[in-house]
């Protein structure tokens, strides 16, 4: 019927290739998207990455193991504690050493605080992409408090170099635990305020519900992990399924997407999983602070890290998903090969598949809900 009304043979419509270039306010970094559109409807997206490639893996082949930690910081700069922690547990797997309890508890507290900070940016930036500017400033204000805590801890606000193979670099300063608990008391009502403003806002729901649905099996096939996969209803969290460190001792839930406002696996679900995860992280921090034992944090640090010949693949649940480090050692104090599997790399590869048939405004919303960091993708 439509074809009879609009004789397409007379009006020629062509495909337009739009370049959402490396510099753009909402591509979360230097990412280039070549979008093939028909008017406003997208038919294919080709992400072009590599603008932030800094040869991380080549550097690792020339540095001793303990000097690689600052470089891992700079891969995912919004969740640097997670990168340090992932690398450290991989090297400890290779060396097969046992860590004191206090070190494990400090690492868990710091990692969960970092998870809250990273999710605050993800949630705020997603609101910014959709057009709501105020929640972004509010989440950044709350993140400042976490960064202040980290500054008292190790002196740095963003790139910490704190978690080393064998322990941590400094012990907790005095009053750190009290300040953390005070922050958590301040933080819990802030999530309710954010929910009032953004999560249940009708316009926000219209923009993000039913948009960019990732079916669970396609998600796993593409290698999607983390909150993006949990938003599709897959109950998979490395902290519960393959516990590393001392996560087995804590009592927390794993939020998954249930399709409350639309289809299971849409942008709203991924966003809401992140909001709920912040609450769960707060729970874990409270439990860890209550059980924190005394002790020395430098006991297990090896004098020289010289692992035996072998390979290991270490997995870790960071704010964005499943981080993996594959280290091949040939017996020297410098690794033969370090490969970092970044979660955002796989999350970005699904973009073309799920944005077919949606409009350009939706592509921005989908990209915001996948929460990518280009430093991790390009390394």
């Amino acid at each position: 019927m439509e074809d009879q009304l609009l004789d397409k043979s007379v009006i020629e419509t062509g495909e337009m290739i739009l370049n959402m270039g490396p510099q753009h306010p909402s591509t979360h970094g230097v990412l280039r998207l070549k979008i093939h559109t028909d008017g406003e409807i997208v038919s294919k997206i080709e992400p072009i990455i590599g603008y932030l490639h800094r040869c991380f893996e080549k550097h690792c082949e020339q540095l001793p193991y303990e000097q690689i930690v600052p470089f891992t910081d700079r891969c995912d700069y919004l969740a640097s504690m997670h990168m340090d922690h992932a690398f450290s547990i991989t090297v400890e797997k290779l060396l097969d050493i046992e860590l004191p309890e206090r070190v494990e508890y400090i690492r868990v507290i710091v990692a969960e605080l970092q998870r809250i900070a990273s999710h605050l940016i993800a949630v705020g930036a997603f609101g910014l992409d959709v057009g709501a500017i105020t929640p972004f400033t509010w989440t950044l204000r709350d993140r400042e408090r976490i960064l202040d805590l980290f500054e008292t801890l190790c002196g740095a606000r963003l790139l910490y170099n704190y978690i080393w193979p064998g322990g941590v670099s400094h012990d907790l300063p005095p009053l750190f635990v009290e300040r953390t608990l005070k922050f958590l008391d301040y933080f819990d009502p802030q999530i309710d305020e954010l929910n009032d403003l953004l999560t249940t806002n009708k316009i926000f729901i219209e923009r993000s519900a039913d948009v960019g649905v990732i079916p669970a099996d396609i998600g796993i096939n593409f290698g999607v992990s983390g909150p993006s996969l949990r938003g599709s209803g897959v109950n998979f969290d490395l902290r519960k399924n393959e516990p590393y460190s001392i996560y087995g001792k804590f009592d927390f839930d794993v939020p998954i997407g249930k399709g409350e406002m639309g289809t299971v696996g849409d942008c709203w679900d991924r966003y809401y999983v992140r909001v709920l995860e912040m609450r769960e992280s707060a729970k874990i921090i409270r439990q860890a602070c209550a059980q924190l034992p005394a002790g020395d944090v430098h006991v297990a640090m090896p004098k020289k890290i010289r692992p035996d010949i072998g390979e290991v693949y270490g997995r870790y649940e960071s704010a964005r998903g499943d981080v993996g480090f594959y280290i091949i050692s040939n017996g020297k104090n410098i690794p033969l090969r370090v490969k970092m599997r970044s979660p955002a790399f796989c999350n970005l590869s699904i973009l073309s598949e799920i944005s077919e048939g949606w409009m350009i405004s939706d592509v921005i919303a989908i990209l915001g809900s996948l929460d990518i960091v280009l430093g991790e993708i390009d390394r």
Binding site: E57, N221, E311, Y313, Y326, R337, K339, C346
Partner: protein
């Protein structure tokens, strides 16, 4: 399933087309049998490796042999497997990009960094470096070019410290 059980299961299904090395928990496969074994890994109801986590390409350091390591995981059965393929320079490896879609970009990265060619890949071009780059950086014998588009590449970096 533990590693030895998985290895015995695959051996029974494929008439021993895989091999293992002493002390390593990895399965070694030759490029000719790779597609068949990949199909078994994903379709077999006892294995169900539906999640390909990472493909790492590495240079063994002797300027002759290169290797690719595949890390698999099963979200239903919660077991893990590492598969390795070691080849000489220039031998192509069949691509599994249409079995596990996550292999698409990972194989492009392996090609970009070490130069391993994957046959049957839908779009094998460089992903992290620019399209006109020459050489494969992660090889141990890689020498940085002197000039790139007219910009000199600094060789003496002692004044950086």
């Amino acid at each position: 399933m533990t590693f030895s059980k998985i290895q015995k299961h695959i051996e029974s299904k494929t008439q021993s087309k895989i091999s293992i090395e002493e002390g390593k928990e990895a399965v070694f496969v030759s490029p000719n049998n790779w597609i068949e074994i990949a199909q078994i890994l994903i379709n077999d109801s006892d294995l169900e490796f539906n999640y390909l986590m990472c493909i790492s390409s590495y240079d063994k350091g002797d300027n002759k042999m290169y290797g690719v390591a595949y890390n698999f995981y099963s979200t239903n059965r919660q077991h893990y497997l590492e598969v390795r393929i070691e080849i000489e320079d220039g031998t192509p490896i069949p691509s599994i990009a249409n079995i596990w879609r996550s292999a698409d970009w990972h194989e492009r990265e392996a090609y970009d960094m070490i130069g391993i060619v994957f046959e049957g890949h839908p779009n094998l071009k460089r992903i992290l470096l620019s399209d006109d780059w020459e050489g494969y950086p992660l090889r141990k014998i890689f020498k940085e070019p002197d000039y790139y588009h007219g910009i000199p590449v600094p060789k003496d970096k002692s004044y950086w410290d």
